[in-house]
């Protein structure tokens, strides 16, 4: 045990490990806030869909040799999020079908573009890193950490300032509109925030596992808590705890970061289910 602790202390001397922990905590905190709303609005798989769109945009950006892929990834993902979340109920292509169409199309286009036009010597490796984020979180620069901090702060400020509106839009959009609030505007901002979180979270857990970051903390919290605020706070706590533990285990025992975090979330979800039964809820 002391050997592992001294190993961890040794690793924490490296700035990139500290950056990874800071970014991991912020991303998991923001994802948990968003995850509660998305789960309740039956959009659990939107993380998957948008992350595949981001992957496709990243692949196209790489092929086009953009100096920074964020030029393309963020706007494309935001547009996709707005299309998926804001179109509402009166569309021909409903929620899950729209996510499926967009998700697989972007994934296929991205992988095709990388294979046909890419110049990387290791296409499979690049794709693998993006999909699973095995060590991406350990390769962040100080600038990327600062950017992540700013974006996370904006997300948190948004949730704090507009908590009551988010609550009403989540549970009853028609009531929200009936009370004179513009539900469409709040849906639009939720869509933009979702896209930002997805793009940031790709560094932490990779494209394929982002859904876990959004869904598991919210579902775990719903086993125990009754109120919306309680679910959000408990979800944030579980998310941050699971991410920190997952990252420390991953760094100490050399396991893939994303998968380890998701397994920790699974264990926490199982524990909360058991706790729910014990409490006879």
């Amino acid at each position: 045990m002391s050997e592992w602790i001294s190993k961890l202390e040794f690793y924490l001397n490296y700035p990139f490990v500290r950056y990874a922990l800071i970014v991991g905590v912020l991303i998991s905190f923001c994802s948990s806030l968003l995850g509660v709303t998305l789960v309740l609005k039956r959009y659990s798989f939107i993380g998957d869909g948008l992350s595949h769109v981001a992957f496709g945009a990243m692949a196209v950006g790489t092929v086009l040799k953009l100096s920074n892929n964020m030029f393309l990834i963020l706007p494309v993902t935001v547009v996709a999020a707005v299309i998926l979340l804001k179109t509402g109920q009166n569309t021909r292509l409903k929620g899950d079908a729209a996510i499926a169409v967009m998700s697989v199309s972007a994934l296929a286009i991205g992988y095709l573009a990388m294979n046909v036009f890419g110049t990387s010597a290791n296409v499979s490796g690049d794709v693998c890193t993006t999909l699973f984020g095995s060590t991406s979180i350990l390769t962040l620069t100080k600038g990327e950490v600062i950017l992540c901090c700013i974006m996370s702060l904006l997300v948190i400020v948004f949730f704090v300032l507009f908590y009551h509106r988010i609550f009403s839009v989540t549970f009853d959009e028609k009531f929200t509109m009936a009370t004179g609030n513009n539900a469409g505007r709040y849906n639009l901002v939720i869509a933009v925030v979702t896209a930002i979180i997805i793009v940031l979270a790709m560094n932490l857990v990779g494209s394929l596992l982002i859904t876990a970051l959004l869904v598991f903390p919210a579902l775990s919290a719903m086993r125990i808590m009754d109120s919306f605020l309680g679910v959000i706070l408990y979800s944030a706590g579980i998310s941050v705890f699971g991410t920190v533990v997952g990252m420390l285990i991953s760094v100490t025992f050399s396991t893939p970061v994303g998968s380890t975090i998701v397994v920790i979330y699974m264990i926490l979800f199982g524990c909360n289910c058991l706790l729910e039964r014990v409490m006879n809820r």
């Binding site: 190993k7 040794f10 690793y11 001397n13 490296y14 700035p15 990139f16 490990v17 100096s67 920074n68 964020m70 030029f71 963020l74 706007p75 935001v78 290791n122 499979s124 490796g125 690049d126 693998c128 890193t129 699973f132 095995s134 060590t135 350990l138 390769t139 620069t141 100080k142 600038g143 990327e144 950017l147 700013i150 974006m151 904006l154 400020v157 948004f158 300032l161 505007r185 901002v189 933009v192 930002i196 991953s250 760094v251 100490t252 025992f253 050399s254 396991t255 893939p256 970061v257």
Partner: protein, 159 residues
């Protein structure tokens, strides 16, 4: 008041999206943030002048070697010890053979390689080796690309 809140929030998000357009890794070498990062890394590195990758797990090894590629100034002149598989590469353009110690990440799908200079006999390709050398960066004749390698290296096969 609510309108003002909305306006400020949306303007902040737009500003953040635009400022999210960072710089290429070449441009970063000339910015203040890299100098600050270098200072931070130097402060940390002063605690230990040697970087022993054999004492780290696979993820940390991969990440540290990545950092060596991305921020070479922070590791210049340091004694580096690493374990990996031996892999030679002959450049058809100039006929030179380069010798690498290659390490893979935890998934085994991605790999990083560190070139090293050694005067002795090289083993078969794919042999597990341990290399110790001094980290340096250099440029090839006629090229502006920056490369890194371990000079004054010692190498031994690991069983």
């Amino acid at each position: 008041m609510r309108k003002l809140g909305w306006t400020i929030l949306l303007l902040s998000m737009c500003a953040t999206c635009f400022t999210g357009c960072g710089q290429s890794s070449k441009a970063k070498a000339n910015t203040k943030e890299v100098k600050e990062e270098k200072k931070e890394n130097t402060e940390d590195s002063e605690k230990s002048e040697a970087v022993d990758l054999t004492k780290m797990g696979a993820d940390m090894v991969y990440a540290t070697v990545y950092q060596m590629m991305v921020d070479p100034d922070s590791y210049e002149g340091k004694k580096v010890t690493m374990e990996g598989t031996y892999s030679p590469f002959t450049d058809e353009n100039n006929g030179n053979t380069y010798h690498y110690c290659v390490i893979k990440d935890a998934l085994g799908c991605c790999s990083q390689g560190m070139e090293f200079l050694w005067d002795g006999e090289f083993p078969k390709e794919g042999t597990l080796i341990k290399v110790t050398g001094v980290y340096e960066t250099y440029k090839e004749e006629g090229s502006d690309d920056l490369y890194c390698r371990l000079k004054d290296a010692t190498m031994e096969a690991v069983e």
